[in-house]
Symmetry: C2
Subunit: 675 residues, 2 copies
Amino acid sequence: MTAAAKRLLVGRPFRSERLSNTLLPKRLALPMFASDALSSVAYAPAEIFTVLSVAGLSAYAYTPWIAVLVCLVMVVVVASYRQNVHAYPSGGGDYEVATENLGPDFGLVVGSALLVDYILTVAVSAASGVANVGSAIAIVGQHPVWAAVVVVLVVTGANLRGIRESGAAFAVPVYAFIFAMMAMLATGIVRWLLGSAMRAESAGFDVQPEHAVSGFALVFLLARAFSSGSAALTGVEAVSNGVPAFRKPKSRNAATTLTLMGVLAVTMMIGLVSLALITKARVTDDPGRLIGAPADYHPKTLIAQIAQAVFSGFPVAFYFLSITTGIILFLACNTAFSGFPVLGSVLAQNRYLPRQLHTRGDRLAFSNGIVLLSFMALVLLVAFRADVTALIHLYVVGVFVSFTCSQAGMIRHWNRLLRSETEASVRRRMRRSQTINAVGFTFTAVVLLIVLVTKFLAGAWIAVAGMAMFFVLMKAIRRHYDQVARETEGDEEDMLLPGRVHAIVLVSRLHLPTMRALAYARATRADSLEAVTVNVDLADTRALVDQWDTQNLPVPLKVLESPYREVTRPILDYVRRLRDKRPNDLVVVYIPEYVLGRWWEQLLHNQSALRIKARLLFTPGVMVTSVPWQLASSRGQDRRVRARANRELQARPRHVPLTITHTVGSEQRESRDTP
Amino acid sequence: MTAAAKRLLVGRPFRSERLSNTLLPKRLALPMFASDALSSVAYAPAEIFTVLSVAGLSAYAYTPWIAVLVCLVMVVVVASYRQNVHAYPSGGGDYEVATENLGPDFGLVVGSALLVDYILTVAVSAASGVANVGSAIAIVGQHPVWAAVVVVLVVTGANLRGIRESGAAFAVPVYAFIFAMMAMLATGIVRWLLGSAMRAESAGFDVQPEHAVSGFALVFLLARAFSSGSAALTGVEAVSNGVPAFRKPKSRNAATTLTLMGVLAVTMMIGLVSLALITKARVTDDPGRLIGAPADYHPKTLIAQIAQAVFSGFPVAFYFLSITTGIILFLACNTAFSGFPVLGSVLAQNRYLPRQLHTRGDRLAFSNGIVLLSFMALVLLVAFRADVTALIHLYVVGVFVSFTCSQAGMIRHWNRLLRSETEASVRRRMRRSQTINAVGFTFTAVVLLIVLVTKFLAGAWIAVAGMAMFFVLMKAIRRHYDQVARETEGDEEDMLLPGRVHAIVLVSRLHLPTMRALAYARATRADSLEAVTVNVDLADTRALVDQWDTQNLPVPLKVLESPYREVTRPILDYVRRLRDKRPNDLVVVYIPEYVLGRWWEQLLHNQSALRIKARLLFTPGVMVTSVPWQLASSRGQDRRVRARANRELQARPRHVPLTITHTVGSEQRESRDTP
């Protein structure tokens, strides 16, 4: 049932070889990796206005300067990451750069920051997308939390299906968004030049200041507005992580894509802020502060207001822009969904995360990581009621932590290369790249500091706490795996064979499962073999002993007393005593076990057997052998599982039967027995 | 940790031999088995008044007649059960009587009825006890649900500690209750005869009728009041279940206790109804219907009102009676807590319930059953907000179902005996007993019918549904166990030894756990031995093959291809192929397993191994052997478990070391190897 549902949901499994087929041309790579960065302009300008609205309408005058500053940082960061893309074509991204140049601890800091950041990308993009779609479709606007949850679940499903389909399916809406946005900016500018009046629906309202702001408080507010505007930079690093997915020449194509993305983002940012000021749109986080608004006023997003004003009399364009903006934001989630599991897999490979995250699911996607990401984003969305402004406060920290570490790492990277490089022209190029990265480091470090100072109490502390949690957790997991690796390292002398083999068959009643366990145990020809039972109920034990005697079974039966009616302890005591007597011998305990087809049947059987097995594993020198007895219901279950497996097999693109590629080893005793 | 907490909570474990020491003299058996029946008078009279109050104050005139009718039924039932006690000294109670005389299906009906009834006894007694204590102690009266939950939890804890302590600890409060109640009745009658005015606090209020009642509706109301009053009979059967716990002569002592209990119950019932009418106490299920009561009037229970009136000017007696009434009701829970697990154990022995319920916990109590009962009673208490009147509607059905079936069974029982009995005096005694049982059957059947008709929609349907659920569930469990028993029956020809033994060691990496698994597998000297790995990651597999070659291991290594990066399926396919080739051979799969001390460490390891193990068990002719590798953390865990076990062992009354009482069997090949 679940496997069938999984198939229906995530499609047929991919063969490993298809991994190499999923390389992307630039025209598909741009929507794939740039959707996050481009979609950020859907909320970054609005957040600048929202923060400034605290000081009232007059503060809106600062928005052009802040927008220009954000664009300046954008240009610097894009230029810096062009260096990264060339230096690291392997796509390890910031994590790899930091680990290699600053050491594993900095790498882990970046890893933690990126994990938190991916989660927030999903949450913020879904929330903002729902807000934009909600501006056009009333029912979505009325139930933003539910809508955002549905969006995340749909994107999760799409990603569990795999990368390839995503690339193709995402191109159309991303280009549609770029087209719609550019059309709006062009129309707006032309109408403004022609002197045509464009007024946003909120143009007539005044904004009530939350409190009077001046002096130092004003500087703080401007810095905070800049921090919120910096959200426009999120997702810029996605291209540098995705270099291996580009067609050749990978680095150059990636760098070109990065530049293109930067140009588009800066254009949209400046254009949106200009049109917002021209149309006199008002944005606050609290509609109650809008003076002059009707009581039932339901504010639209900034983009929707601008679109309504620019495309007045042509509502189709307004709907088209709102919907494509919503969709590109939903697709932005996808950047996180392709980045998070890859990062998780890299971290798992370095033993910072459980091994399960390293294994690719059968759809070439890292299914475990995808499910984890989805779950945490949903928690954030529900906890913050899908409120973009609240989520933004958590968002930008992680991005700039990884920007800063990455750029610091790049400075060191060039230093290292410069030490061994002698040719003057190459050294000059390297010096130039290093200078760009140094400027990038300075800018991102300053922005990180500003973000931390202005947003820490507003919510950034949650993101910092999340990073710290991931950091400590991953450190602990790595320590555990290292400890296990140290303990299990060894050489051939540990291959010493144990002396003698004592076989013990646990018996409670004399029926076919017991008979089979006895027969199987005898077939293994141990040095000694005995059956053991625990006397919990005297009448039962007597009946068993009598039956054993009359059937004249060829295995001796021992009865262990249990004055406290326990089953586990007498057996453990007995096995330990055997071991203590001859520590070099091996004890094999055979446990007859029912195999049942339905879960509730399990509750009616095997309870004691499972307890004994779990405890015996703690005793050194003991092997525990389950001798299964398949009941009829299990055969039904087995048939169902096998039939499903066969159906799946037939549905696969090309069926490869079980193959054995290697057989190595010196002592193939009975080769005719191997299939 | 949990084991230590369990010890603290339930005390030291009892040895099996102490079971026979827990026989009770009559003076301890009365409080033990009669607390349920006697405590019923704390709510039965009040419930008669409550039901009649629907028709207004005038209907109170019918209460004496209804009380007399209830007492008549009580006398008949007590007389009937005296016959049961003599005929069935084994204490199987109604379940045994019905099963033996009416067949297993009727037995199961009684079993289901009793299970439901036990749960309701706990819920009703706790709720009523809290109401009585709450009449004296304000804080309890304000939080009845919480108080009832605490009471049930405390009684659960007491019962997990064992029977013996209960018997002794319960005697004092039961006798205190009997004394206090009799003192109140005597004082009340004497004061009434002396013409002293006794007025309950509610005497001045009028009762607003819910609706006008006359004709058929009045008859229905009277019948319903009688049904509620019949709650006084609950618990009468407890003595007949407890016969084996009495000192000898068991049956006679039990019959005497039963009579004594009947006399006490009838006296209290009549006395309480009389005093209620004399003191003009008003009882309704809705204080809002009391005309003339102040707005913040918080009604006391009927007994508390009577005690206040009778003991006016002597409040100590009022408090004493309220508290002892509360306590005897809490102790009434105990009847259920000793009856339910015993019944559950009997049903489990007959394979109607999971085997776990049959095993006695190490405190001579059937711990599993106790926990189950407690849980379900808590659910009812919370769902019905500890409201006695609401719970009573569910209560009486189960009792009378088992009364009726039991009496019907007794009629048949005597018929059977009469068939073989020839002596006239014995036959006469049997005829007399049969007549009594026939009268009992008639009465209880009529009451059952009345209860069903008058209470079905008021809540009895929940109890009926519960019974039906238990019945169907137990039938299904029995069918399953029968099916398993049929499948696992067999004779010695199944002891045929398998032909050859193929050993397979699953390998993922070459480290000490793998080495140990190889060494152990080699020690068992199978006919063929090979290591098998699955190629999920090509680089890892190549490294493993190289390592295998250079170390020149004496076991061949096979590599199974897995184009879809699965681990489980290639192994299953390979094992099945081996089996299909030679169906008479035995395949032993050795799986190296990490043993870890902390639960979270488990999440980081063994995931694939567990999945493979679970699936392999479904394949016939395959044994799965876990070769444990104990990591350092597991040794800490093992040390903790063993240290705790030793502490427990020392704390036991008399430590019996591991003993082996029997060793049977014809072929003790290596006797010097057995400890």
